[in-house]
Amino acid sequence: MRDSRTRSKSRWAALPLLVFVVIVFGVPMLVLLGGTFTKEGTLSTANITESLQGAYLTALIGSVKISALVAVLGGVLGTFLAQAVVTSRFRALREAVLTASGVLANFGGVPLAFAWIATLGNSGVVTTTLGLGDHGWSLYNFWGLTLVYLYFSIPLMVLTVVPALDGLRPQWREAAQNNGASTWQFWRYVGVPVLTPALLGGVVLLFGGAFSAYATAQAMVGSTVPLVTLKIADALTGNVLIGHENVALALSLDMILVAGLVMAVYLPLQRRSARWLR
């Protein structure tokens, strides 16, 4: 009796949070859906069609391309760095790298763009010192943006895979060695299969981070690199034809669908890796 009363009461404690999310998150999402599928007051798919054509499509593909590249490069480089740290005998090095990763993974947005502009921009310190400008160097393109995105993606990957690498038990390696396995065989048949969910999960997180990044791109390249986030911002702030505001909503829906698909890969993987790495 008493227990059931406590139960129903504790449900009420979560109610404010649920109501808040439904209103503050749900209403804008409903309006987003509604706006996407209406044009001049009538139901239509014209906005979606327009968002998948011409410059908008180029921007969407550009975003997917840079995010995929950052995710794969960041995933590989981050894993190597994490392995170097995990196998190191110096406890202080490990602590320092993990703390720095925690900070740098959060170092995004406008300050990140300015730090790189001061380093490798047209009048950046490294650019002028090494005379890179004469060799046609420019930070303000696809590859420059990739270089900058990796600056917060690699630390994020390190943070994601270090627990997984720690979870590789020394006993497994010893068992493999006792059975005559070579280093290659250990990684091929034990290490990589156990790590795969964690690695893929990390790569998906990096993809999401690069895909939704707006501030860095806006402060660094303006609109010289076609990215879907920049297109949405332009459309919202009225830098396009009047009457095309709803295309921004359609583009947003495209983005949510892409991010949702990628996340759909991530969630089951996370559950699988959690089972092994306890």
Binding site: T6, R7, S8, S10, R11, A13, A14, L17, L18, F20, V24, F25, V27, P28, M29, V31, F80, L81, A84, T87, S88, L93, T99, G102, V103, N106, F107, G108, G109, V110, P111, L112, F114, A115, W116, I117, A118, G124, V125, Y151, P170, R173, E174, Q177, T183, Y214, A215, Q218, T229, I232, A233, L236, E245, L249, S252, M255, I256, A259, M263, L267
Partner: protein, 300 residues
């Protein structure tokens, strides 16, 4: 155990006597650990260059003045630059309001999930993954449409006044609401981990048996045990609010990151100086967070 973990290869480096290498384990390890140590060194060195050069170069950029050499003027100019105080205060105010609201909403929910309603856990997990699926720019696209449509459809209802009020440029409540949504996953995970570290059920049942009311249990029993988790949630939320650019810019509110962006056109050096400065602040916040966490672990 640790002695067996380095990568062991069958290769014997030149210079060691093969017989000696085979006879003793320690000897073999020192001979074969050389290769991993080399690649580890290379990886760490490359990482150090990649991650340290931009930080050093940014600092050099801010202190190097043509014809003068070294000068810390750019850092002095931060504080006198127009709009600095106002935008920083606005961001800090938004941060405090967001922290209060996110804790008020999340703490009761997290306690409820632990104590009486485990069925709610999947719901909260879904809520916490939503911001990952919905990028901030799409969220703000929805919000700005609501704000734009509001006046058209609600002009004759009391909601109209509400929509106007939440957009007050002196203190845009709409930003607090949006930031709470963005901060929910971090806050909930942090609080849930904190609740997992203490025995909430025993504590609350003991308090209830002694006649404490539920608000009393929450305020006097659970919250004092959750200080470090709550501090963690607050620090993460504050770092998020102080760095958030997308939503503030697209809704045209002059928060701190938006101010940095605005002055970059006219005062490049100052904007880089502020960037270095804001990285230092984030660093300090997170350092405080990790030491608080360490103290909690050693205390319990």
């Amino acid at each position: 155990m640790a002695s067996l973990t380095p990568q062991v290869t069958t290769q014997v480096t030149p210079g060691t006597v093969p017989g000696a290498a085979r006879s003793g384990r320690p000897r073999q390890r020192s001979a074969t650990a050389a290769r991993p140590r080399v690649w580890r060194g290379v990886v760490l060195a490359l990482a150090a260059v990649y991650f340290l050069v931009p930080l050093i170069a940014s600092f050099v950029f801010t202190v190097k003045v043509p014809d003068q050499g070294f000068s810390l003027d750019a850092y002095g100019q931060i504080f006198s630059a127009e709009g600095f105080g106002g935008s920083l205060l606005l961001s800090l105010g938004l941060g405090v309001a967001t922290i209060v609201l996110v804790l008020l909403l999340t703490l009761p929910a997290a306690v409820a999930v632990r104590l009486g309603a485990p069925g709610l856990r999947p719901v909260l997990e879904v809520i916490c993954t939503l911001p990952l699926v919905v990028p901030p720019i799409t969220f703000v696209a929805g919000i700005s449409t609501v704000l734009r449509w509001g006046p058209d459809y609600l002009a004759s209802t009391p909601f109209y006044q509400t929509i106007i009020a939440v957009q007050n440029p002196d203190f845009p409540v709409v930003l607090v609401l949006a930031y709470v949504v963005l901060a929910l996953p971090f806050a909930y995970r942090s609080l849930d981990a904190g609740l997992g570290a203490i025995d909430v059920r025993t504590l609350s049942e003991a308090a209830r048996n002694l006649g404490a009311s539920w608000p009393h249990v929450l305020l006097r029993v659970i919250i004092p045990n959750m200080r470090s988790a709550m501090a963690g949630a607050s620090f993460l939320t504050l770092a998020l609010v102080l760095g958030e650019f997308t939503i503030a810019r697209l809704l045209s509110f002059q928060t701190f990151p938006n101010w940095i962006y605005r002055i970059s056109g006219s005062q490049a050096q100052v904007s880089v100086a502020v960037s270095v400065f804001s990285l230092l602040i984030t660093w300090l916040l997170l350092l405080a967070l990790s030491t608080a966490g360490a103290r909690q672990r050693s205390g319990s």
